[in-house]
């Protein structure tokens, strides 16, 4: 049986391992020659341990990965409503742009004069992101959102130290924050103070006030937060942090909701990162790559990582040297960033233009609110006020009826959909965080809502029916306990 989305039920049977398909002596002929090289390497250095890489013919390799690909759910195949992940459609022109020889086949050590196109694109992207975020300066180096968080908190440290203020040791993080926030603060050597959310899903102002002091480095705030809610007193929070001498970090994970709606730079944030693999449609690549440009206000500019891209008065573009930025925290990775991802983001922004970006933010919010209107008759909302681009349901009621959020997620797979984010944010029991994005047609939103409602109805009468889900995926539920107790992390011949 096939579902409308066709995303799950057409998956093939499981695929053997490369190591099971291989036979000694089987090989393609991709590169050959060079045997004389063996005499050039002193024996003390040569490989004595076996190199048991599998030996396969190219047709076998092609079928292997084609079959593996078919075992995956993807945005190309169907709706992927993972909350806070912004799984919108990934335009193909972006991929083609990134693969142009002038972009894909240039080396980061090439002199500036041979990569003027790449530098121009990056410089323009810096300018575009500054305008979109309402900030003054941008670094494109961070490889992901978490990497940008780390970069920013290290810059906060440098900022305070440059002012001779060395007593600050604490970073404040709301209890609804992504785990990357406290982890990034800890990597920067700071302690983490968690503040609670109030009944409306905002940062609890009293708790926040109690947490602030002259030992506070900064405050990490996601807005809209992971409940999909706009922080109602965002300026008050920013002002209070500033009054205590701290800085406010904007976690831009949910920036899709703000496109053309509001700019973090206008709301009081000192900086914000942008997950271009969410907001600007670059593919998530089964876990990565992303890119996490960090946009900052003027007062943080001296501390940005080096190098950045500048345009000289002659109109030439170049990478700045470390010597030009004595207060910089240094480089946070090799080279100027995940260029191939940034090219895609640039292509997307230029394709949509100002008006298209405005429409994106509004459509994302419209889609989430519409979907919520459809499903709320059978699901409880965790914090019941108007959400932005995503919303968080709680399956607490269903749990009492005998099936939990995980069961609902797995039942959605049998309905042909990828499940939403479940069990996050941590502050909502049995949470289901749903982000439809602006690129799902109304018919798909309707079908997804129908599936969710069907599952809720089934749970009301026969909760056990979903305990065994999924039954239509290539595999049944996997034993994560066994995987963790006796880890098998690579192939070992029997």
């Amino acid at each position: 049986m096939l579902f409308e989305t066709g995303a799950v039920t057409e998956m093939p049977a499981l695929e053997p391992l490369l190591f099971e398909l291989q036979r000694e002596g089987r090989a393609g002929r991709h590169v050959r020659g060079g045997e004389e090289a063996d005499a050039l390497i002193p024996q003390a250095f040569t490989r004595t341990v076996r190199l048991p890489l599998p030996e396969l013919s190219e047709p076998q390799v092609v079928r292997h990965y084609t079959h593996l690909a078919q075992l995956n759910y993807s945005v190309d195949a169907g709706m992927y409503p993972l909350g806070s992940c912004t799984m919108k459609y990934n335009p193909k022109i972006n991929d083609r742009a990134a693969s142009l020889p002038g972009f894909a086949d240039i080396h980061p050590h090439q002199p500036d004069e041979t990569v003027q196109g790449a530098l121009q694109l990056l410089w323009e992207l810096q300018e575009l992101l500054a305008g979109i975020s309402g900030m003054d300066h941008v670094t494109l180096q961070p490889a992901a959102g978490a990497h940008a968080e780390f970069t920013a908190i290290l810059m906060f440290k440098a900022y305070h130290e440059a002012r001779g203020d060395t007593k600050r040791r604490r970073v404040i993080v709301p209890d609804s924050a992504h785990g990357t926030n406290p982890a990034s603060a800890a990597m920067c050597g700071f302690d983490v103070t968690t503040v609670k959310s109030d009944a409306r899903g905002n940062v609890d102002l009293d708790a926040r006030k109690a947490a602030l002091g002259d030992d506070v480095v900064g405050f990490m705030l996601t807005n809209p937060n992971t409940l999909g809610l706009f922080e109602e007193r965002v300026r008050e929070v920013c002002d209070a942090v500033h009054a205590a001498g701290g800085l406010v970090y904007g976690d831009g994970a949910n920036m899709n909701a703000l496109l053309g709606v509001a700019r973090p730079g206008d709301l009081g944030f000192d900086c914000v990162h942008i997950n271009v693999h969410k907001t600007f449609s670059t593919p998530h690549g089964a876990g990565g790559p992303g890119a996490g440009p960090l946009c900052v206000k003027k007062h943080l500019e001296p501390f940005l990582p080096v190098p950045r891209i500048v345009k000289d008065s002659s109109g030439e573009f170049r990478r700045e040297t470390a010597a030009e930025h004595p207060l910089s925290i240094g480089r946070v990775r090799s080279f100027i960033g995940n260029f191939g991802v940034l090219v895609r983001a640039y292509t997307y922004i230029r394709t949509l233009g100002e008006e298209g970006l405005v429409e994106t933010g509004r459509d994302a919010i419209l889609a989430a609110n519409y979907l919520l209107a459809l499903v709320r008759e059978r699901y409880d909302v965790a914090y019941d006020r108007t959400p932005m681009h995503e919303f968080v349901l709680t399956a607490a009621k269903q749990k009492r009826q005998g099936a939990n959020a995980l069961d609902i997620a797995k039942a959605l797979i049998d309905e042909g959909f990828h499940p939403p984010t479940v069990y996050f944010p941590l502050i909502v029991p049995e949470s289901m965080m749903i982000e439809p994005t602006e690129t799902e047609p109304k018919e798909t939103l309707d079908a997804f809502a129908d599936a969710l409602l069907r599952i809720a109805k089934r749970i009301e009468t026969d909760p056990k029916a979903v305990h065994d889900a999924p039954v239509k995926a290539p595999l049944r539920r996997l034993d994560e306990v066994a995987a963790a107790r006796k880890p098998v992390l690579r192939y070992k011949p029997a």
């Binding site: 069990y423 994560e480 306990v481 963790a484 107790r485």
Partner: protein
């Protein structure tokens, strides 16, 4: 209902203590292992290590949670349970038996007074004394 044996003392952080002369055996309670779910990993201090009351003694992990085990009393580690490191599921199946964690030589017997009685622990986890022996 979680089992709370009557012959043990308890901490608010859900450890149990079985005193035997100068020595004491420490583990986590049935309630704690139920909250954690299937335990997949246990980390314990080496023999000879000194542990301080209320400080971290080790870690127990399930697939989706990691939890510190706090020392309910101070002392020197006489033995750690190698079996529970190899088979963490013992924490689930026999929390008061083969799922024990460490044996310590008590540094200060006075600390025992700060521990909870079985009844106190039952009310701490919201279960009346009727649960005793379950």
């Amino acid at each position: 209902m979680s089992s709370v044996p009557d012959d043990l003392k308890y901490s608010k952080e859900h450890e149990w203590v079985r005193v035997d002369g100068d020595a004491a055996t420490i583990g986590i309670t049935a309630f704690a292992q139920e909250q954690l779910g299937d335990v997949v990993f246990v980390e314990l201090p080496e023999k000879g290590a000194r542990v301080r009351q209320h400080s971290s003694l080790g870690v127990v992990e399930s697939v989706k949670a990691a939890s510190d085990v706090y020392a309910p009393i101070s002392g020197e580690v006489l033995e750690r349970n190698v079996k529970v490191i190899e088979s963490p599921e013992l924490v689930n199946s026999q929390p008061y038996g083969d799922g024990w964690m460490v044996k310590v030589r008590l540094a200060d017997k006075g600390e025992l007074a700060s521990l909870l009685s079985p009844d106190d622990y039952r009310s701490h986890i919201g279960e009346g004394s009727a649960a005793a022996g379950d």
